[in-house]
Amino acid sequence: MNLFQSVTSALDNSLAKDPTAVIFGEDVAFGGVFRCTVGLRDKYGKDRVFNTPLCEQGIVGFGIGIAVTGATAIAEIQFADYIFPAFDQIVNEAAKYRYRSGDLFNCGSLTIRSPWGCVGHGALYHSQSPEAFFAHCPGIKVVIPRSPFQAKGLLLSCIEDKNPCIFFEPKILYRAAAEEVPIEPYNIPLSQAEVIQEGSDVTLVAWGTQVHVIREVASMAKEKLGVSCEVIDLRTIIPWDVDTICKSVIKTGRLLISHEAPLTGGFASEISSTVQEECFLNLEAPISRVCGYDTPFPHIFEPFYIPDKWKCYDALRKMINY
């Protein structure tokens, strides 16, 4: 299955197992703009898979309402760029519900899915990566998969998790490649980073699409510089797996973090700050962040904007020679 099919499979499993689960969002009934919900309405009925009008704030608020009664709400925000009208509902209402009611109420059965990241032709409002805005908000979980197999397991974990979760799906990967994905449900634990490739000289950390970029950089480094890289997929942005990253940095002494979102205030800054606190004496070089520029996501300049393998490789080389 490819990524959008693995999402459909996860949603299918959820609706089958949990009679209270409902899916709603803009245009999800016919299958969704990325075909993630194809066939679900026919299979489970129009009162479980339905379209909403064009109102993100309303969609999330409505989802919180469903979740508070105990039913499982799976909301879709058509593009991560459109999540901002719903920002208040997510940050002020969903994230704080359990806290402010002293655990009397919660909207843990809410999951928000949204296509995320650059896609080559998305321009300003179809390419954003807003995970950093949500990382600043205790009470929600933010998860980003890198592949079809990861997506299904992580999505099922988000839906079953007793906290409101945001699941960002890298849209450029929807049809990119296919993997063997089991039809039965399975879970991948949240808040656990995965070491995809072990190494000894540099730690490379990324999430979503960027994981594939740094994996390529790792093989370039091996080939051209004889450098052995440890590649880590963070998977859950908050709460993030501090231990795995720190353990790796203690081993290698060098860290490079990469994401498409702008540099200033991007999530790499949180990782960088924490790692230098925990592993200061183990660091051989300053922590390197290879990210998008501090500009709105550009239209025609996209190929120059994204942190491609050459920029990452360059930063890695400078770190090795520090």
């Binding site: 803009e26 009008p53 064009l54 009208p85 321009a123 390197s288 501090d294 239209h299 300049f301």
Partner: protein, 261 residues
Amino acid sequence: SVREILAELTGRKGGCAKGKGGSMHMYAKNFYGGNGIVGAQVPLGAGIALACKYNGKDEVCLTLYGDGAANQGQIFEAYNMAALWKLPCIFICENNRYGMGTSVERAAASTDYYKRGDFIPGLRVDGMDILCVREATRFAAAYCRSGKGPILMELQTYRYHGHSMSDPGVSYRTREEIQEVRSKSDPIMLLKDRMVNSNLASVEELKEIDVEVRKEIEDAAQFATADPEPPLEELGYHIYSSDPPFEVRGANQWIKFKSVS
């Protein structure tokens, strides 16, 4: 102009937003542009209307949005403000019956978009009839200019193609429906028939206009593909208004761009 629009779509520096905006972001004098979040422009329109009233230059603001966007909360916030402060704002809902893939019956509890303003008077206008739209707009502008406050217009129209590049346009409606509208209610065709039938123009004269327009579009398309893209240095321009130019951090600590505005 047509050239600027096509060049903006292809991201060239001759485009109306210098190639930096793309398809959703066309701007021109007195045309305050398109927005990523549909509906976000409506409170903006109300604000511009306030400025019009304040400046006392007898200007009005036309704020357009679609049937899909009509369900956004911020539009109702704008209605309230405009009516409360009697702003010279003409709210125009372009009802083409589909919000991308969702038909109006499935998205709106009330498809009488002209009534959605509640306390704002509304007109329903046949958007396919050019003269009708002109007269309605004339009326609406006069209404606003007389200081009575905002007014709402619903233009009933249709969309032939899909909403965007990824929308084929036929998965949620039949081809027959599209063909029917195209053959019976196409605005250009209706105007042509009217002009020819009342002897205001001959078929040949109209054909000449057709040929001219086609040439203009051809030229514009040529320009859009031939014009150079904006130079890379402009990546960092116009983020802030700042004097002197400041530096924009790039993909890693060794890449910096200058930001000028």
